[in-house]
Amino acid sequence: MKEITAAPVEEIKQKYAYVEVNEQQTIIVPVDKLLESMQGLKDEFEFDYLTNLTACDYPDETKLEVVYNLNSIGKGYTVMVKTVISRDNPEMPSVFPVWGGANWQEREVYDLLGIVFTGHPNLKRILLDDKFDGYPLRKDYQWESGRE
């Protein structure tokens, strides 16, 4: 089996003192340092490919976790970066200036989870109707019918 190079998580941690690394080697970045560290990951660690961007709702802890999966095409490693924002004020910077691939993915997260990405060029609903009320992937969303 071809060995897949592990991402240089330790180096990233040394370079950016404010990031945390959990036991699954996921990097956790505070939201106010997000753009700075993402730009650094792209420029200095060659994470040139934003493969996945999504979010998950945790109402018990009143938080939303935004997840970024980054690949490096040249180096062949991958990393998961997370940031936590408050559920009551779901606003955070868009990473569209760093990776254009965030364009539709952030719109999707906005559409289904109601996270507002400031600095996004065209933040509006993408899958649901413009008049749709609520954010269905939030855990407290109530739908009218449907089986349990």
């Binding site: 089996m1 071809k2 897949i4 699954q24 040139d48 490919y49 934003l50 493969t51 996945n52 999504t54 998950c56 709702d57 997840v67 999966n69 095409i73 062949g76 991958t78 998961m80 990776w99 254009g100 691939g101 364009n103 539709w104 993915q105 999707e108 289904l112 609903r125 993408i126 899958l127 649901l128 109707d129 269905p136 992937l137 969303y141 449907g146 089986r147 349990e148």
Partner: protein, 367 residues
Amino acid sequence: MLRTQEYVLNFGPQHPSTHGVFQILLTLDGERIVKAEPICGYLHRGIEKLAEARTYTQVIPYTDRMDYLAAMLQNVGYVQAVEKLMGIEVPERAEYLRVISGELSRLTSHVLATGVYALDVGGFTGFLLCFREREKMMDLLEELTGSRMTLSYARIGGVADDVTEGWLDKLNKLMDEMPGYIEEYNGLITGNEIFQARTKFVGQLTPETCINYSLSGPVLRASGVNYDLRKAMPYGIYDRFDFEVPLGTNGDCFDRFYCRVLEMEQSVRIIKQAIEQIKEVDGPVMAKVPKVLKPPKGEVYHEIESSKGIIGYYIVSDGTNKPYRLHVRRPSFINLGYLDEMLRGYLIADVVAILGSIDIVLGEVDC
């Protein structure tokens, strides 16, 4: 007084060339596109939300209904993600069956993409020709899985059942014939002068743009970026096969189309090797997994190379028998995100050529 002004032309959502239900609002200056606003969501079923109320096994049929043209690859991506979360070892024979049915699925998808693309730019014969082989592959898939399109053949821990007797020989025979069929496609479609005039140097993408906009699959590789997860991060047993990653040079519609044709040849190579190797491998096709699947608390992200590009599954488990959160990174959705910039400056006649060359499936775009 004479004056010129831009106008808006509506394309879709009910239009055969959108490959489903998809709308584009084209702002035009004469025949030239100034701006294009893609509108999707007409087929949104909320699969991610539905999955939260299903058990892990019950989610498998939903994955079929995203990219229904290459259902096996969607299945494999999902079950491998759950297996990664639970640490399940898959029996070797099941791995081979996944590769064989997965590559066969990729072939059906690419054959269809080739034929439909010919139809998109006006060649009806090529379309019908491709359906001839697709039918043979569908028959084989039906014999293997009981279903023609929504296969649901993969299981968490293996595959549903072993192959029937003689099935591998039938498949081997078709794979022997495939290079001849591909030759026919090249003669009828690829080499056609009108086809080349319609597609060469249209909708060109630079490698930098492709990487920046997270494009994947043949769209990315047609621009010369060598990034195929089967090679870059081999999952399953893909490191046991000898195959190449076809690349384009111009990054235009023709290269994207031709990349798929070349990939068909590679899929045939992989299937033929897998048929040879599976003869030596005996044993069960399912691992010993508990009846009720309760993955430990945690999360996982796993991605594989589907026929359209990289398909990734992000699963969060809270320790119960249902996923707390399931997100799918759908290649068609992300590849479509660059459509606006791709269309700008081209003529109305190129819209269908460019859209068709991305090879989207609306079931996957809208999820």
